[in-house]
Every structure is written in C-alpha cells, then in structure tokens.
Symmetry: C2
Subunit: 418 residues, 2 copies
C-alpha cells in the first residue's frame, strides 16, 4: 500500500475471556489482511462490558488507522459493539430499510423474532452496510476522524465469509498498490535451516520479500511482492519463486496449499491412482485428514485401523507369528500392513503406520519411534523415524501422517522415497 | 477471591498478527484462570517490536492487576518479553545459576546451543523462576508496584503445562478464598434449552452460580462456588450438582470431562468390554478421536474406514447387492456395518456410521443425513439423523461421532439408545 495502515482487530465477547471459545476470527481476519499487505499491529479481546469496550476503542483509536471489530453485533442486550463504536465516533444509529425488510422476510418465513432482533437493522449513519447472507446480524464500515472502522459478527462462519466478501474489497480500494503473496510449503527441512539457507538473500531484499514460518510439523517460506497491479506483482514473484523452489529442491511439497495431503490429492487424481491406509498408532488420523478434503472419495478407498495385534491379524490377515517374532512396532509389520491393505482393498497404493505415540512405551522402543510404509507397483518402501521421546502424542501422530503423505508425494513425483 | 484481580493476558509474537498461528495460549490460560475465579478482562496480542510491546505493557499496567505474558521468551533477537517487562518495572535482568546449569547440561547431552541461548538464563531480579521441563526457555513471576506479572513461553505445549504447574498454584496463594467449579457436560439438549430450564434459578443464585455454554456439537453447564476452603466450596456444590444432574437427566454424559468419548472410555473399562468401528462419512474420525486418548488400546480394537462401496464389500464383506438396493447411506447398510465390524474384529460392540458430510449430495438424501449404528449382545440399534443441509462438513463429521459415543454411553449405562 502507498500509505501504511496500522490495523487493530478488536474482538468483543466474554466467552473469549473465559476461554470457552478460541479467537479464530482474529487469526482469520489477520491472515486475509496479510495477503493484501495490511499490517495488523494489535489484537485486543474485551468482554461484553460497555465501560471496558469504550476504553478499548479509545486505545485502538490512539494507535491504529483501521479498527476491525468482531462480535457483539447480535440482538441480545450483551451485544454492544455497534452502539459503543457509533458513540465513540459521534455517529447516531439509524434504521436501514433493506435490513428491516430482511427481518420482516424472516417473520414471513415463519421464524420467530423478538423486538430486540430489530435493533440489528440499526447502523451508524452513513455506514456502508455489509448484508449478512450467512446469519442475521449485518456488518458495516465507516470512515470518520481519519480512521476506518469495519464491524463483523462474531461467529466464524459469518465473520470469515463477510470479511472475504466485503472487508477485503473495501480495504483494497484504499490502496493503489497491490500485494500478492505465495507460500512455499516445506516438509523435511526445519524453519531454522530454511532461515539459514536464505538469510543473506532475505536481508538484501526489499520488494519482493521472503520470510520463513514454522508450523506444527512442517514449515513454509512466504514470498510477497507489492506493485501497481496484481499482474505486475505476480511477474515480480515468478523468478523469486522459481529460484526458491530450485534452491529448496525436493523438500517443497506445494505452493499455496495448507497441508501435505492437499498436495497428494491432485497428484493421485492426475495419475488416476487410488490408495488405502492401514493405521496403528495414528488410529485413523491418516484417513481422517485425507477425508477432511471434499472429493477425497475419488482416490481414497478406505482402510483399516488396526490398533491392537488382534486387529492386525483379523482385519489385515497379518500372520500373528510375524507380530510375535518382530513386534508390532517393526519394519516387517509396517511392510506387511501396507502390502495387506493394498491387497485387501484393491488400491494401487497401500500405506501403513505402526509406532509408539506415547505417553507409554512398549519396553523395546523409545516413544516417537514410528515405521511408515508404502506398497506400490511390486515394491514396498519403509521409513523408520525417531522423533524423540519428549514429543507429545499429538505431535507423533501428526508427524507420522506427514511422513505417509510425503512418501506418496515423492513416489508420485518420481523422487527418492526412503 | 477476597480482592478482585483484573487480569490481562499479553501475547507476544508477530506470527499471531499474521494469522499463521491461533492464540490458543490466551484461551487456555483464560480457561484455567476462570476455574480458580480470576477475572480475565483483556487479551492483547502484539508483535515482536520493542516500542509497541512497551506501549502495550503500559496499557496493561494502567488497567490490570495481574499481567500474564505468553511468548517472546526464546533465544532469538525477536524475543523481547523479559527485557521489556523487566525494564517497565525497573528491574535488572540477572543470571540464574540453576538455569545456566540446565543449559550446560544440554550441551553435555549433545545439543548445540548458540551464545544467544544463554540469554534464557537471565531473569528479572527477585523473580520466582518457573523451570521449563517441556522446553528450554524458563518462565517467571514477580510482584512490583502493586502489580503481579507472570511470564510463560509461547509454544502451547510449554505454556499450558507451565501455567498449570506454576501459574495456578502461584495465583491461588494470593487469595484466602477458594473457587471451585464443575462442568456438567450435555449431549442431546441445546444451550438455549438448558438456559430456559434453569433461567429462573440462575437469576436467583449468587453463590454457587451456574452458567450454560455452547460447544461446537454439545454444551455444558458450569457450576461455581466460592468459600474459605476447597472442601467448603465442594460441600456447597454437592447439592446443586445433584439437583442439576437430576433435572437434566439422561442428556448428562459426564462431569469435568472434555468430550463424550472421554466418558465412554471408563464405562467400557469398568465393564471389560471392547469396541470396533466401521466408518464411512466420518472417514476415520471416530477412531482418531478415541485413540487421541492414552489408554484407548485397552478397549478399542480397531476398525475399518470404508469410504467407498467397494471397501464396504471388500473389507467388511457387506453384500454389494444390499448396497445397490438400499444405497450406501441407508438404515440397512449402517446396520450391516456395525454387525460386520463386530464379527470381523471379535469386539463386544460394533459401531457404524454412514451418511453425507457434504458439500456434495448423493441425489437422494440431503447433506447432513447420517445413519449411526451399534451392534451389541445380539441386537443392532440404528439412529437416523438429519442435521440440516446448511451444516459444514466438519460439523456433520463431529456430530456423527458424538452420536456414536452417545449410543454407546446410553447402552452402557442402561438408558434407551435409539
């Protein structure tokens, strides 16, 4: 942006302060703003209390150019955001006919509304109204005293789409510069190694810029450019992206994806291949993650959760003598799991996971020891990992799943697997 | 508490403002504080910027009695929290020998530390040191100028256990009143119905108090008492808890548990029974949720994720003609899934889920239609649910899992299942 707009996100709701609800609104709004280059400088959460909300609005006015509120727009007497913000900027609340009409439509449609519901149609005078197609309380935006104020309802299923549909276009208009950003997603190299690799270059860059970020079990490098138009920004990014991907090499699993399974789904679709999973320590999480994505059924046939030795024998038909001899957490059992689930389901690729997620060990291996396997085209690959005994159960399970998807990705793109 | 301590949680980290990370620390710390009756009045998030952090500390000093910081305690030059807080309260940073020794132990253990790592052993003079057994950066607490400051590292896996182990006992000592709180967890009755049921009583109560809260797919009623001692508070809660549980009846699945599967695990253990799951639309999530709990292997044998019709036939041996005739989303196929997975694994209880999680429909049923089944002791129960086509994929999957566990809970406690 030509001018830098410091932004504060002010979330209103006592449930946030009690820890009953996580402030995902602030995260989601921040993420959308960072993509268009708006600098979020503060998040504040305050309860449904007029005095404290008023004080927080004063603090925000003193340090931010853009104030984005989430929550407190509903019809109950707890919902104060509109009143307090309007008052703080000296604007009266006026009835918006289109919103009133919407409420009457609800009544005709058979919904019961209380008199309080109609306060939702009151908005600060002169505000741009953001009609809520995902709920009932409308949002709005106004500019006053050199500040820009946007208000959104609290439920994430209303806040997020409204920010995307109204907030982002509204804020983009303030600028004659466009910001475009891409994330290079990395598995198999840590954030600090990525940082080391590009440290000198990053220090020398001004536009585009690059920055590495750690996620729970992988990391990313975000590359951002500013220009007069999106096309120009994209053109500036292209050589940087090429360079970064080449320098990082095989550890890049995708660009602008959220997780490694999101990179595997299209690879399987392209090749018309299916897979099935046999899971022990991940307990269904490999299947769950993949089926979180709509359209998974085109390539994921199903699988077995063989949490006990008996289940490994009964569902997958693994020889109990093999489990007895080698142990459930072993190269051999992992190999058999991938091979058997492939045969059982008729999938092109069978994957298997067996290991110790903790907190209890098995007296043989350290917690964090996991064998990950993949059977495809007559060959079975097995990866042995030792994540460290200090790792949490959820880390081991998630990381094991990442290895499953990484092995598939590598095989599907012709890279070395083990 | 005899004195009310207004509390502000100040989370430090640019990654929070970019939306790369959700501020779960603030939620978790708030939740723990609400259990001991400490009133959190504000959450603030600020980036790794000394000037803005300093300003946020000044704001917090002006409006809160207790300031709890999360994040910014690590060894990199971004990590400023300790320095800025110490400075704001006029305290020098001094080297803490025990923490220095710990760092030397790491080096002996083979870990590589940079000179910066040693700044972690510098803490505000006179502070109570919170040794970090879950990571490297220690936390601390001090009292100065009538304010109480506690600092914790940012990673939730360090912040949460440190708050529990050090923060809560530290804050409890400030008070000669004890607050005790219990959560009655409810599935099968919505938050507003619970609110209606107890509205009059709640309005008339002062100590103990009650309040209902909605979770994604269930709700809870929190009952809280204040007294001189924990025993006294518990004694005050006992008749209220009895009354509430009796009035709510069968929809209560547990007290002080986090989710319904947590209530099912001990019920199965008590009766020495095992179960197995056959999942279609939940895609492994029923198994994943159960195996998130350590100790699940004592009662959960495993199961099948039969995401496609072929997998239902090949893994579970369901007659393809039945699927053809009745459809994969049907009473009959749900029934067969529970029965077949029970037989296949030899479990005492077999459960099955088949339905439409969306966003795509099957041309027959509305999205949100899910059949949930349970085969046990010669009988198979099937529940047909219609959650509504507007529901998200993740809601339908989670709610379907809740129904699975609710059917098990009801059967195991002798209640009506369907």
């Amino acid at each position: 942006m030509n001018k830098t707009y410091d932004t504060e996100i002010l979330s209103v709701g006592t449930e946030l302060l009690l820890g009953h609800v996580t402030n995902t609104d602030a995260r989601d709004v921040s993420e959308m703003l960072s993509r268009i280059g708006v600098n979020v400088k503060y998040h504040t959460v305050v309860g449904d209390n007029p005095q404290r909300l008023r004080q927080c609005v004063e603090v925000a006015k003193s340090r931010a150019d853009i104030i984005i509120t989430t929550g407190g727009l509903g019809p109950t007497c707890d919902d104060l955001t509109k009143q307090i913000l309007a008052e703080a900027f000296g604007l009266p609340l006026v009835e918006v006919k289109a919103e009133m009409d919407t409420l009457y439509e609800y009544i005709k449609g058979g919904k019961e509304l209380t008199p309080n519901n109609f306060t939702q149609a009151l908005l600060p005078q002169g505000a741009t109204v953001f009609h809520n197609r995902w709920g009932t309380a409308p949002g709005c935006a106004f500019e006053k005293d050199g500040k820009i104020v946007l208000m959104f309802p609290g439920p994430p299923k209303e806040c997020d789409p409204m920010m995307e549909a109204y907030g982002i276009p509204y804020l983009k208009k303030l600028s004659d510069e466009q910001i475009v950003s891409h994330s290079v997603r990395i598995f198999g190299m840590g954030e600090s190694a990525v940082d080391d690799l590009f440290r000198e270059e990053m220090n020398a860059m001004t536009n585009p810029t690059m920055a590495p970020y750690a996620k729970e079990c992988d990391c990313l490098l975000q590359v951002t450019a500013k220009a007069r138009s999106e096309e120009e920004a994209e053109a500036m990014l292209r050589p940087v992206m090429e360079h970064v991907k080449e320098r990082l090499g095989e550890v890049v699993y995708g660009v602008d994806v959220e997780c490694i399974e999101e990179a595997v789904l299209p690879l399987l679709k392209e090749r018309g291949m299916t897979f099935a999973a046999a899971e022990s320590c991940t307990g269904g999480d490999v299947a769950r993650r993949f089926t979180d994505m709509p359209g998974a059924s085109a390539v994921f046939l199903g699988g077995a959760v063989t949490y006990t030795n008996g289940a490994k024998a009964r569902i997958l038909g693994i020889d109990p003598a093999l489990i007895e001899e080698k142990g459930a957490v072993s190269y051999e059992v992992a190999k058999a799991m991938a091979e058997r689930v492939r045969l059982l389901t008729g999938a092109d690729i069978g994957v298997g996971v067996t290991g110790l997620a903790g907190p209890d060990g098995d007296g043989v291996h350290e917690v964090g020891t996991v064998f990950i396997s993949m059977a495809v085209e007559g060959r079975t690959y097995v990866r042995e990992t030792h994540m460290g005994a200090w790792r949490t159960r959820s880390f081991v399970r998630r990381m094991a799943g990442n290895h499953v998807y990484d092995m598939m990705r590598r095989w599907l793109t012709g890279l070395k697997v083990e």
